[in-house]
Point group: C2
Chain length 348, copies 2
């Protein structure tokens, strides 16, 4: 199948060099995986800023925080036989895991949806408290009425779960705690109720039994979730064989809820595909992409901090047009247009 | 520290041979891990019945269910080089995991709390639907008003999560769906609200970051859960270094919520200990057993389907006296008495 994405000629829109580190001693390693929203006539992105310590020759330095939440740099000798650094995202030393980067979120806005700048009036969203000591990542934004709900990954030594904050004005935020316990990420709220219930897609991970599948949950109030069901599973031998996860809020169409999701192969190549969910019973999959609707083919999607990745968690929809923002190679923020009709047609 | 349990001289109270298999072709491998409750002046147990196929020479046969939920036996040659059967509970063949037994729940009652019999008036609780195709296990019972809430492990190829059903009369049951998504088990509800909220302890498991710790969640309605927090972690080098999980509903005392929990070492030896949680802020641990309050020392606790295990998820409390029911070696149901005061004193 043809790649259905019309990439912005201006890609990448944002790179590490475009943003200042949050504190001395750190460098911005990547700007990635933006949530997207519309506010006061502008397009907003909630981008993930991944930072790592300045590196020294012959060493690898990784960021952690102490019990008080203060940054602490841990150094290992590159020749240390107890060091496993095959995955650039997580290293292992003597059985203990360390993230190589620590992420926070920043709000950037744009009049044209292409050139984004940080608005000093909007606070940076930093990890806080025991459950976010290793940072927060990959924020989805869902607007319900005049309130924006941010669902994001909370990372700490206790595990990886889904946190939620909400805001009306992007200046003050309400905290809603951890809404889904470890190991969970890639959570997006639906942008309206279905039969008087809120819904969310999420991605628990299971050791042994189970896998990295997309699940659905229901809620009376957005803060408390139940009635969990597995909706879509990884598919052996296909482009989404190792893990899948929802993008942002599904798009309501006459045919069903259209959800763009990411899928990774065993070779860790991340592509995008689509799911069509039943309008009334969103746990029913009506159709699913056999082939990706977008693959990492551009140079900036194939090379970077973690190459061969297109990953989306943000889009702005107007009629048939999807303006999608995505992370390329865990390094940069890019944009692409899709047509709702074209995606639906590709589902057969 | 001295083992604080006063074991029933009648132990084990129930063994595999005491109960009939649920269908032809199966044999009861173990009767274990009972939830406990009081109903109409009698003590009730919700026991887990683990069944496996009748075995043939030179083969290992394991139970699975097909898409329609019908039992299907899968056979492997014992000499198959792709077979890993080091863990008697889960075997692995060519990268795929199979439970060696399939569990359901049965309600047994007793006038004296010692001799339990199956009441034909109470239906057996079988796994049903897509999320329970590999059975249901390890039920906790919490009474709230005149309704009994059963929280138990749901097992399927999609993973291991926590399901809930409730009943007033042990004859008809309401279904509440999966209340906690994979990978999660060892969930018990508190038997009363704290500051207008329901609470539960649960045990998510995380690959890489995190571990097998005890978490707390809050709920407005028992069906939907949020505000997850890690309460107690495994302790390196101690008896509870590999995994811990809550027993049944914590006991409200003047000093705090007293929770008996199980802890396993890296050598898979399961003991019991106690946690004392703050009455108003049950996510705060006030005290915790340094040494187990009960260890697998009796012959029936050391030898069985999976040896060196004492595991509890059921108790009946009257004033200072805890009548605890527990699984021994994943094979049999046993009983023991504890004193609330003695446990509190042991916490120092």
């Amino acid at each position: 199948m043809a790649d259905l994405a019309k990439r912005f000629p201006q890609n990448p829109l944002l790179r590490a060099a475009d943003l200042a580190p949050s504190q001395a001693g750190l460098t911005v390693e990547g700007v990635l995986n933006p949530g997207a929203f519309r506010y006061q006539g502008r397009t907003g992105l909630v981008v993930r800023i991944a930072e790592c310590p300045l590196q020294k020759a012959g060493k690898i330095s990784v960021p952690t925080t102490d019990a008080e939440g203060m940054l602490r740099i841990v150094e290992f000798d590159l020749n240390d036989p107890k060091l496993d650094k095959r995955d650039p995202r997580v290293i292992c030393h003597d059985g203990r895991h360390y993230l190589t980067t620590l992420s926070h979120l920043r709000v950037l806005t744009s009049a044209d949806g292409i050139r984004f700048t940080e608005d000093p009036g909007f606070p940076r969203l930093l990890g806080k408290g025991e459950q976010e000591t290793f940072g927060i990542e990959d924020c989805r934004v869902t607007q319900l009425g005049d309130r924006y709900y941010l669902t994001f990954t909370q990372v700490s030594p206790d595990g990886v779960g889904v946190g939620m904050r909400s805001t009306r004005d992007w200046r003050s935020f309400a905290e809603h705690g951890m809404i889904l316990p470890p190991h969970n990420k890639d959570c997006t709220l639906f942008d309206r109720k279905v039969a008087e219930r809120y819904y969310a897609l999420h991605r628990p991970s299971s050791p042994e039994l189970g896998g990295n599948h997309i699940w659905l949950a229901g809620s009376p109030d957005l803060e408390h979730w139940g009635h969990h069901r597995c909706v879509a599973r990884t598919r052996a031998g296909m482009w989404d064989s190792a893990r899948i996860g929802a993008g942002c809020a599904p798009i309501k169409t006459a045919d069903g809820w259209l959800e763009i999701y990411h899928g990774a192969s065993l070779e860790q190549r991340y592509c995008l595909g689509a799911l069509l969910l039943d309008l009334q019973r969103p746990w029913k999959v009506l159709a699913r992409s056999l082939e990706p609707i977008m693959e990492p083919t551009a140079e900036y999607e194939q090379h970077g901090f973690f190459g061969n990745v297109v990953f989306t968690n943000g889009q702005v929809v107007e009629d048939d047009s999807i303006t999608m923002y995505y992370g390329a190679s865990d390094s940069a923020v890019c944009g692409a247009y899709f047509s709702v009709r074209e995606i639906l047609r590709s589902l057969g």
